[in-house]
């Protein structure tokens, strides 16, 4: 069996004002990526971007995006991502930049990476808590969020991550 191969780019959207992340939607991100690729790589890049490119997942709370590119040309399209400076959505311009965290062959590997990454972040941030009470709060929040089904796990950790800040 042969399957059509893709590359999934796990990116985080960095903004100065985190509340504005909630304004984002899949379509806005996809349009921005397409427009930037067309600017940087011209019609050739835009054509490459017109087949099998999609925004697979967007978490507006944490600003995590999965982008799917065809495997053949993902490097070319990837090279245009640093040139994104703002995303336009609902008539507003959100100044931001994309930071690519991981490149994977399947969504599963990307998810695994994301869980590991977020755990790491949590471990890094926990010692920064000012007092014992704050720590307890964070722990409690995490325990509250975790559901028995493993699937939502990553999101939940992310959310707790959010709260901490």
């Amino acid at each position: 069996m042969v399957r059509v191969k893709s590359r999934y780019l796990l990116c985080e959207v960095n903004v100065s004002d985190r509340t504005r992340l909630l304004l984002l939607d899949d379509r806005a991100v996809a349009e921005t990526v397409k427009a930037t690729v067309a600017r940087i790589h011209g019609d050739y890049g835009a054509a490459m971007c017109s087949i099998r490119f999609s925004v697979k997942y967007l978490n507006t709370h944490t600003g995590i995006v999965f982008l799917r590119f065809p495997k053949r040309c993902y490097k070319l399209l990837w090279s245009a991502l640093p040139f994104i400076t703002c995303i336009e959505t609902r008539g507003q311009k959100i100044p931001c930049f994309l930071n690519c965290l991981h490149v994977g062959g399947t969504i599963r590997t990307c998810q695994k990476f994301l869980i590991r990454y977020n755990t790491q972040q949590l471990h890094r941030m926990l010692p920064k808590c000012k007092n014992e009470e704050e720590k307890q709060q964070v722990r409690k929040a995490i325990l509250n969020c975790i559901l028995p089904g493993g699937n939502k796990q990553d999101e939940d950790i992310l959310e707790s991550d959010d709260e901490e800040e």
């Binding site: 690729v37 600017r39 940087i40 790589h41 011209g42 019609d43």
Partner: protein, 129 residues
């Protein structure tokens, strides 16, 4: 004297084969315009080619460095030099350049070679009549 020469002989002969090592490719192109009285300067031509690169390959394509070695304003024929890796980009954007200032135009690629010398000795230029 003779023996001296003989001693030198093995050191003198040397053979080096370089494969696909040429750093540049050269193109001989001519521009055909709908209105034949239109004249372009060398700078306009290079700018025109750059706009073609920009529309097909974007800002990255427009940054491709190529040289306009020689340009004949009467026949609109030019020698271009481009790094070997950029040849396909340049060639394809030349192919797709269809309009110059709202008039139809086309680039004819007359000859392409990894050696500039080859462009100067094209036997198809031989005129015997």
């Amino acid at each position: 004297m003779k023996s001296d020469n003989k001693k030198d002989e093995p050191a003198v002969f040397k053979r080096v084969v370089s494969k696909n090592a040429s750093p540049y490719n050269y193109m001989k192109v001519s521009l055909v315009l709908e209105d034949e009285s239109t004249r372009l300067t060398a700078i306009e031509l290079k700018q025109f080619i750059i706009t073609g690169l920009k529309s097909l390959y974007g800002e990255v394509g427009a940054a491709l460095s190529f040289d306009l070695l020689k340009y004949d304003e009467d026949t609109l024929t030019a020698f271009l030099r481009v790094s070997s890796r950029g040849l396909v980009k340049l060639w394809s954007s030349l192919t797709l350049l269809g309009f110059y200032q709202n008039q139809a135009c086309a680039f004819r690629v007359l000859q392409v070679s990894p050696f500039l010398l080859a462009l100067t000795g094209n036997s198809r230029d031989l005129q015997l009549d």
